[in-house]
């Protein structure tokens, strides 16, 4: 039974595991990890150069076929996020942008309000916007209306590796939101990624757990298998057609 591909921004993804380039001990792990995990989209960040200026170009470590997902990390306001997005696009990254606006420096929680504003602005400029947010159904509806391409709810605060602490809120999004749901942040173990997929998430984004493993390539593969397993389990439960149509017919309709 074939799973349908995940379509975002006109691009078809076979792999529902997205990865990130942050926190690797050495950049040459990145291409090995991408090969092992078969991930088709990876995040990058934009920064002012170090004054030394001799840094390697991260883009050299990413195969051409892998879609770049620049993030707006560092932005504190919607305007800053928009600026970073425009720069990234101009620099040749394509139209994908992960909006990450964090004003809380203690827990690194996303600023949902600024993120919504940035989404409105950037969707209007033709970006494929993936907003990273604290799961909130009302916000999700507004992001839908604003033209986001997906929603990326956090599973747990960045760095905590506590898995799907927000699972019941994520479940609400999966059930009620028309946008693809990509769980980001907090996934520390492949089993947690499987859990997200079993619940019906459309994809997961895993960075830290893979990058900081002793063997990131192997961990990348582990996550890839977990994501596939979770997705298969979800499809087996609902039947692959109704994976897109989440409503089911009423059991007591016959009484009416």
């Amino acid at each position: 039974m074939q799973d349908e591909q995940l379509i975002l921004g006109g691009h078809s993804f076979s792999s529902r595991l997205f990865t990130g380039t942050g926190k690797f001990a050495a950049k040459d792990w990145i291409p090995k990890m991408l090969a092992a995990s078969e991930s088709e989209m990876i995040t990058v960040a934009l920064r002012r150069i170090d004054s030394g200026g001799m840094g390697e170009n991260i883009l050299d470590f990413i195969p051409k076929e892998v879609v770049l997902l620049p993030n707006t990390s560092g932005a504190r306001t919607a305007e800053e996020a928009v600026r970073i997005a425009r720069i990234a696009r101009e620099a040749g990254c394509g139209n994908f942008i992960k909006i990450e606006v964090i004003t809380d420096m203690k827990y690194l929680m996303p600023d949902n309000f600024e993120t919504l504003r940035a989404t409105e602005l950037l969707a209007g400029e033709g970006f494929t916007v993936l907003p990273y947010v604290l799961p909130d159904l009302t916000l999700a509806k507004k992001l839908e209306d604003a033209g986001a391409a997906a929603i990326m709810p956090l599973g747990a605060p960045i760095g905590t590796n506590r898995g799907l602490e927000t699972r019941s809120l994520i479940a609400l999004l999966i059930e009620n939101c028309r946008l693809p749901v990509i769980v980001d942040a907090g996934i520390g173990r492949p089993s947690q990624a499987a859990e997200a997929m079993e619940m019906g998430a459309d994809a997961v984004l895993v960075n830290t757990a893979i990058a900081t493993a002793e063997d990131p390539a192997r961990m990348g593969r582990a996550f890839s298998l977990a994501v596939q397993a979770g997705r298969l389990a979800y499809l087996a439960r609902v039947g692959s057609e109704s994976a897109t149509a989440r409503a089911s017919s009423p059991l007591t309709g016959f009484l009416d």
């Binding site: 009423p250 059991l251 007591t252 016959f254 009484l255």
Partner: protein, 368 residues
């Protein structure tokens, strides 16, 4: 120790007030619970829960799938005698009814067994009216031993017995007991059972326990909806099942939900449960007792039964005749105990079960 001690706790309780006091918030709390208590069960049975029916149905559906998978156990009833010494105002076999009384000889039982076995059915429910003098223990044991040659499972739905007699029948091959209390309200019980051994409320109430103590694997109970106020009757039946489950861990407890149906004698029930309420009862029971088997018989229509398949039912009778014998073609079976509404053949029921995405189970086990 007896279920009566549970009934006593509710003596004097005004169920109508209690049920009408249930709020939507209370229903929601009950629905959200993974481990329902008595008052959660009551909340689900209340009028206030009616608007939550679809949610109850979804929960009942997924609990049934979880604990039973997508299977429906099939069984078929065989009445071997309609002699009866009781006067139950609602029953076709009422001793005052002028009907043709019949009792099958062993040879006749065997003929019926062969005919039934040809349909593929492997679980048989053996029934009699209540007339121990006409159908004494030896006759019953012989019948059971005979039927065991044709059927993997033989259960009985006969008059209440002593523990020792249940043990005897178990040794002869019986694995299950069905016995409906009919009505749990003692006063109502007295009104509808006018004469005969059946007037003894306690004796009947304690019989399922005696069956369990006699070592029977399965015990199945039920109210006869219509004889008493329906919501409290289902409440007590649920509590009865829970009591049996908690007390007899080795026994599989099930419930049936028979709804009153015209029979010889033209009894008009004082109470009724419409289809929506019936579904509410079924789904509430499933939520309260996730592991209890629930039977719906051919008293209910084919269309209704098919819709119930996904709502918590786990056992279906099929191809039934409720007169004496009746499976050998063109015979005169006499007056039925109750009117059957679903007259489909075994094959037709099996087809419907499969069409609903469920597997019809002819045989659950073999005693070896």
């Amino acid at each position: 120790m007896s279920f009566y001690s549970v009934i006593k706790r509710y003596h004097g309780v005004d169920f109508q007030t209690l049920l009408n006091q249930v709020t939507p918030a209370r229903v929601e709390a009950a629905l959200a619970s993974d481990h329902l208590l008595e008052n959660d069960f009551l909340a689900l049975l209340s009028p206030a829960a009616s608007v939550y029916l679809e949610q109850m149905a979804k929960k009942a559906h997924s609990l049934t799938e979880q604990y039973f998978g997508r299977t429906i156990q099939l069984f078929i009833p065989l009445y071997i005698s309609n002699f009866c010494a009781n006067e139950c105002v609602y029953c076709g076999f009422h001793r005052g009814n002028d009907i043709r009384r019949k009792k099958l000889s062993l040879a006749e039982i065997e003929t019926e067994a062969r005919a039934i076995a040809a349909t593929g059915m492997r679980h048989l429910l053996l029934l009699t009216g209540e007339a121990p003098a006409v159908t004494p223990m030896e006759y019953l044991e012989d019948a059971v031993r005979l039927l065991k040659r044709y059927f993997a499972s033989v259960a009985i739905e006969i008059f209440p017995l002593e523990t020792e007699d249940y043990r005897r029948l178990r040794l002869a091959g019986v694995d299950g007991l069905t016995l409906y209390q009919e009505v749990y309200d003692e006063k109502r019980y007295g009104l509808v059972h006018k004469a005969g051994r059946k007037t003894d409320f306690r004796y009947r109430l304690d019989a399922p326990e005696r069956g369990a103590r006699g070592g029977l694997r399965m015990v199945n109970i039920g109210p006869l909806l219509g004889l008493g106020e329906v919501r409290s009757e289902v409440f007590f039946c649920g509590l009865h099942a829970k009591y049996l489950q908690d007390t007899f861990l080795q026994t599989e407890i099930g419930l049936s939900l028979p709804r009153m149906n015209p029979a010889e004698g033209n009894y008009q029930p004082d109470y009724a449960a419409d289809d929506r309420t019936y579904v509410q009862f079924l789904t509430s029971l499933r939520c309260f007792l996730p592991r209890a088997g629930i039977t719906v018989s051919t008293r209910e229509s084919a269309a209704f039964r098919d819709n119930l398949l996904r709502l918590g039912v786990t056992r279906f009778s099929a191809g039934s005749c409720t007169g004496v014998g009746g499976y050998v073609e063109q015979e005169e079976t006499g007056t039925p105990q109750f009117q059957i509404t679903d007259e489909r053949s075994v094959a037709e029921v099996v087809q419907s079960v499969r069409a609903a995405g469920y597997q019809p189970v002819y045989k659950d086990w073999d005693a070896i």
